[in-house]
């Protein structure tokens, strides 16, 4: 009976497919591309995470990679790995709010329709157009060594030189500072959000005599919560996968910039022994962390105001 039911389902599917073959044909490039370049690698990385695959062969299967990730004995792998996770989390916790605050402040400052405002906005947006790697190289030249350009400028005005990227103590703060270089991108999104706040709300507030900060916290920010939420999700995912610093700073002084994505890369491709299995396991743990955080964000998103539409 069940077999017959399945047959009829399959038949219906095939009949549908035959009838709508042109639709399938148009979707085929995507389906093939998705299967080959997305689905298959995802499945295989999950499989490899339970093996010691080294690009050539698999000798052992099991949970040993996951055990190693959570091995916190004296020299256990877990210590270094979770230090990388911690470092990445710290980077996210500091850089995301800072970036959002600065880009919002900038957008607020540049929202007024004064003469030449478009040109000024463009100037703030221009740095976003410079590729991250190129920008990184420029920053490294300016801040990467004691004789860098910034130190030369500091010296010229009689200030002492700073260590910036050349010291373990200052490299992280320096990275956070230069990561704000792209606030122009966030500014554009904020400007769009601010434009969408109905003017009537401000007019009504003004008639009620509400102050600037009153309007900011009671109208502007609540009306912008969908954008804040969107930015937050995107930024968290982006920050937890920070990687491009590896190209110009490596893993930093005393591995002080050894973020988790960099560790995944070096585990797979660095050194003489390529531990694809462990790298895949690390990637899945990172995925789990991001998924959990994203899930929590959505579960606690009741503060997001979507207007009259259903959340």
């Amino acid at each position: 009976m069940r077999a017959k039911k399945n047959d009829s389902r399959l038949g219906a599917f095939l009949r549908g497919a035959k009838k709508e073959y042109s639709n399938w044909l148009f979707m085929l490039p995507f389906i093939v591309g998705f299967s080959v370049f997305v689905a298959y690698p995802i499945i295989m990385s999950f499989v490899y995470s339970f093996t010691d695959f080294n690009a050539i062969r698999i000798k052992n299967y099991g949970f040993f990679n996951y055990e190693n990730i959570f091995d916190f004995s004296a020299y256990g792998m877990g210590n270094d790995i979770w230090k990388s996770f911690g470092l990445t989390a710290l980077y996210a916790v500091i850089s995301i709010p800072l970036n959002m605050f600065l880009s919002f402040t900038l957008a607020m400052a540049l929202r007024k329709a004064i003469p030449g405002i478009r040109g000024i906005r463009l100037l703030f947006y221009l740095p976003v157009l410079i590729p991250g790697i190129v920008m990184g190289q420029i920053w490294t030249d300016m801040l990467g060594h004691p004789e860098g350009l910034i130190n030369q400028w500091l010296g010229a005005i009689g200030l002492p030189a700073n260590t910036f990227f050349s010291s373990e103590k200052t490299q992280f703060a320096t990275l956070i500072a230069i990561s704000q270089w792209g606030i122009g991108g966030g500014m554009i999104v904020w400007l769009a959000a601010l434009e969408n706040v109905p003017k009537t709300l401000y007019e009504a507030a003004e008639m009620d005599g509400i102050t600037f900060f009153g309007k900011l916290f009671k109208i502007t920010l609540p009306m912008c919560t969908p954008i804040i939420f969107y930015n937050l999700i995107g930024s968290i995912i982006g920050a937890l996968q920070v990687f491009d610093t590896y190209a110009y700073l490596g893993t930093g002084q005393n591995n002080g910039l050894y973020f988790i994505s960099i560790r995944i890369y070096t585990t797979a491709f660095g050194g003489r022994v390529h531990d694809y299995g462990l790298a895949c396991a690390l990637a899945w743990v990172l995925f789990a962390v991001i998924a959990v955080l994203t899930g929590i964000m959505f579960k606690t998103s009741s503060w997001v105001f979507y207007g009259d539409s259903k959340q």
């Binding site: 690009a55 062969r57 060594h145 022994v273």
Partner: protein
Amino acid sequence: MKKLICSLLAVCCALTLCVAAGCGGNGGNNNDIDALLKQIDVTADDEYAGELVILTTNEASEVLTMESLIKAFNEKYPYIRVTHRTEVLDGYYNGLTNNTGVAIQTGDHSLMPDVFWLSQDFLQSIYDQEDILFPLYRIDEKDDGFSENVFADEALAVSKANNNLYMIPRDYNQVVMYFNEKIFDAAKVAYPKPQMSKDEFIQMLAALRAGLDASDEVNDYGVPYKTAVTNLVDVNALWDSWVWPLLKGFGAQVVTPDGQVALDSQETFNAVSFWKSLRKNNYVGSVSTTNAGVDFRMQQAAIYFHARATLTDITSSTKQIRGVQKLGVTALPQFGEKYAIGGGSSGYAMYLNAEHKTEAWLFLKFVASEAGQNAFCSTGNGVPSIKSLLSDDNAVWRTYTSPAFGDAFDNDAFVYGMDFEEKPFTSIHDYTRYIPASVQEDVLVSLRTCFAAIDGDASSDDELKANITNQAGLIDYLIKQAQNKK
């Protein structure tokens, strides 16, 4: 729930499919070496016709060497068509490993080269992957026209894995002290002599600094040496062929032959401390520099520690980098109680499932011949690996000359100590052979970390000692973990 079960089933199906498709890896282990050996015609002569694919890195010196070798090879074997493929050094070993994986899983070995360049540093880890290297010692047993005894002992030792030959050593490399005679002349300091003592070396550096400070002479860029030369010595201080000999020179050990970790010692600290003192006096630059050699080539350092392989890079002149135009060379100073000179070999290996095995073997034999070695050395960047040419005053590597060579360019520096009773030649194989291959890279990183800490914020003597203790503990842990896995 139904969807979840469907998804899980889909994953299970995919897993089954993958394993069935051979992702579990079942290729090379079953290779019957005897069967593969039968594919090699050891009687092939210079009339043999065929094809050969060779892979090297795309570095200028490697390409130049290979062009020279292919030209000479084709003079002897005109009917073998050679294709030379190159890859960037950064992705070289990754590519080799990944392509082997693909070749094994697809059964299509035409993806792979027949012969590929290999550095001794990577021999053990490539060997450990089982499916890449052809056991050349097995052909050696079969072919009366070849003997590994032609090679210098030092070059041969580093070309072996598990005590068997897997790589034909192309060169005999040991670290020397290059110096810019013009800078020494400007400082009015005598040129360095072979095997200077540590104190003589430091006195020479102090004299150089004082001499340059008092000199107004300028380099080829028009910049006075006293401002251009910020660090007197240019070296990659984290180079494995530098780190280990320095430690050994001070009497330190990494691992004893019975596998015990012995790094945590006063001798190790003395070596690190010595380098710290050089760094503190600005005699040497940052320990973790990534562009070693550039200062020397730009006439901004007086001394450069490296091997012969970099010779033409040092002397070549471009608009941006003028190169050293009065180059001297001598043997390394003796920094510690023992005299240890970092050295090794690079060479060529045969792919296990090479499609053109006979041609590959003919090429490897040619590299080991005097004609092949002279062809290689004609580029200027090589010291031969075979004994007969190392001591031959008329060998090409000794007769090679350049207008950039100064009065104190001494070819003997490249083979200094070969005839000593206790040979100073030191390679990382001294201790890596006692360490499981899977953790060798980690151990090398630990040794580098002992020195890299000099540049860090925690570089007081106590902190450096604690760092050494920590690295020794880590090495011990890694070795034990690897042994337990086995």
